[in-house]
Subunit: 397 residues, 2 copies
């Protein structure tokens, strides 16, 4: 926990002000603040935004630091999953090293809060989890990392996985993960019963990958809703991707969205240009907590991305056809404060009492900062300077 | 027309080679080329790609050089069109200055061939056309600019516009433009008859903006097909956007796509993440000429974009869910050689006899060059070095 005085910045592109952080929290925002014995950073009139929040990524998958991976993978989801397990073995991929590389690159881009899924499967067991937990420990002062124990290769179709997930939760994973109960495991009842039972056993939440589209995805969501009601898990179950909410049948999707609001089911999107996705404006209007994420990048799944949540705010804006400056502020909120709220962090904002996570960005306005996503001048986590000029101060392995 | 020897490059990411340009054309590609009295550039092992080709942009619209435009425009197409005319008047926007700024920024990113639409309307008459024609003249050695006379504010709904378009063609515009014959002009027959008659009168081609979706867009395309057949204008009529080709009805869209192939109607996309769009793989498989463009950027329509066609190749890849390296090469082709072919340029390629337009890019592979789109090291137009390190050598006004 640190003290810091950031002089001469424009919070969210507004009027010039200073930001005083004490004990890791924002103590004051206003003109000409003075504080004795507090380190000072001069933002030179640049914009301040809250720490960026990546609510959906995969710290254990990136091939950062390796030569370019020439991708020849097949078109199906299972092609990518099987290919990834093989490549991991061929490379002898070290999840700790890779997650350090990924997380510190994200820190350079101003991300101070991450929810990561970590692969748990019967090939590699809990090694990836151990590696990412070690990264979380080492970077605790730099970036907050929340871990989802994620059965990427299936749960019911690969016996032994449920037991590994149980061990993962006992070791300290924060949430139970899941994946396409119909499409992947071909047994939605067993899949969902297993992960809800684990969540209940450990008193933890759930974050489930749902790529299933249209009516199939709607069916899986309904099965989740039934279990949330039965176990009183309102507010504890998030759905990642949720492509089915982008389906063109308004009545079908509105019923799902209304239930997400009623049962407080946060939706986490990566806003892929290639897919129909939940609409930012529509979900926020319905009162659904809504966050955004990078997803994996530079891995065996595909070549795109770099860890930059400000670029993701741009893609989120482009995907949702946001053109007005006030709409782009909404996209930034999803990638900062709104995403943190979707992760149950209420105090992640540029307000007095808020966490002292501040990013100084280039741009005349917030919209320009998003569109150009130039290197971040300064990144501050809980009052502690963690990156300058786009590069984290902690060296990458 | 210039001579140039580019040493030590990797054409399209392949084996190391030199590229010799003589009289503006590629004379040889191979190892250890020698040429007396020819200037030499050392690419230091970096990748060479053909000059980037922007087949759809608006050089006269950008607000580059002005303070950030805070956008509060309404949601409809007509809101944006009316707002733009007003802002142009309020700013006293000079189309020559703006098109110089836009075109030279694009040159810095490696674009050597541009098709631009230029607004013709009863408010500003032919001023924008004159401004962009002057830019075309001044930059003739740096970037090839093809001009479409574009009735952005409508043709039939604004009497006098057809006469202005006629004058624009007489002044030297290269193609007749059009815009949503149903949605914009509410009179598709009159709109299409007018622009086809102008094209016939001047012996020029057509490039029509078609935002109309689904069945409405299909209807407008059918009306175009009828006129192409009747006037034997096969290969002379391109359609920009053509969102209707992304409609989910396979039979309907396949009939349209097959007719585009039969009548040789090139399709030019900007791959917007927010819209359904024509599929890259599907159109190429059907033998339809296919190009990509930036569209306007940093204008009253929206904040996104910067003129970088390598970033557009990334967006095209993301939009089309291209993940394999060979698929990304296809996206690059659309943004270079394929786009040039859609503009009737057959020799825009890294082959002997091809135009001496070469861009040196950073990246281990073409896929990495697209994904990271780092500043271009060197841009060469017809053997003439026109940009270095992302900046055009000709200063921007």
């Amino acid at each position: 926990m640190h003290d810091l005085l950031i002089k001469n910045t424009r919070p969210l592109g507004g009027h010039a002000a200073d930001i005083l952080i004490r004990d890791g929290r924002i103590a004051a925002i206003g003109p000409a603040l003075v504080a004795e014995n507090v380190p000072v950073e001069d933002a030179a009139g640049r914009i301040a935004i809250p720490g960026l929040v990546d609510t959906h990524t995969h710290l254990d998958k990136s091939l950062l630091g390796y030569p370019w991976y020439v991708n020849t993978v097949g078109p199906r989801l299972i092609d990518k999953i099987d290919n990834e397990r093989k490549v991991k073995q061929d490379y002898g991929l070290n999840a700790h090293t890779q997650s350090m590389r990924h997380a510190l690159q994200s820190v350079g881009y101003g991300t101070t809060l991450i929810r990561t899924h970590v692969d748990i499967d019967t090939d590699q067991g809990l090694i990836a989890l151990e590696g990412v937990m070690e990264t979380r420990r080492q970077l605790a002062d730099i970036v907050e990392i929340e871990i989802v124990a994620f059965p990427q290769s299936g749960l019911i179709r690969r016996p032994g996985t449920a037991e590994l997930l149980d061990q993962a939760m006992a070791m300290g994973a924060d949430l139970v993960g899941g994946l396409d109960p119909c499409g992947m495991d071909r047994d939605p009842k067993a899949h969902l019963d297993t992960i809800f039972a684990l969540a209940e056993k450990y008193g933890k939440g759930i974050d489930i990958h749902l790529h299933e589209g249209g009516e199939l995805g709607a069916f899986s969501m309904e099965l989740m809703f039934e279990r949330i009601r039965a176990l009183s898990m309102q507010g504890k179950v998030a759905v990642s991707h949720a492509f089915c909410l982008g389906h063109s049948d308004w009545n079908m999707t509105q019923a799902l969205i209304d239930t997400c609001a009623e049962l407080d089911v946060p939706i986490l999107t990566t806003a892929p240009p290639s897919h129909v996705v939940p609409s930012l404006k529509r979900l926020r209007a319905a009162g659904v907590r809504f966050g955004a994420g990078i997803d994996g990048f530079r891995d065996t799944w595909g070549p795109y991305g770099n860890g930059d949540m400000l670029e993701r705010a741009m893609l989120l804006g482009m995907k949702n056809n946001l053109r007005r400056d006030d709409e782009l502020l909404m996209a930034l909120d999803v990638c900062t404060t709104g995403g943190a709220i979707a992760m149950d962090r209420q105090q992640h904002a540029l307000t007095v009492g808020g966490r002292g996570d501040v990013v100084i960005v280039e741009g005349e306005t917030v919209a320009e900062a998003i569109v150009t996503h130039q290197p971040r001048t300064l990144v501050v986590t809980a009052g502690h300077v963690v990156a300058r000029d786009g590069i984290s101060l902690r060296e990458r392995p």
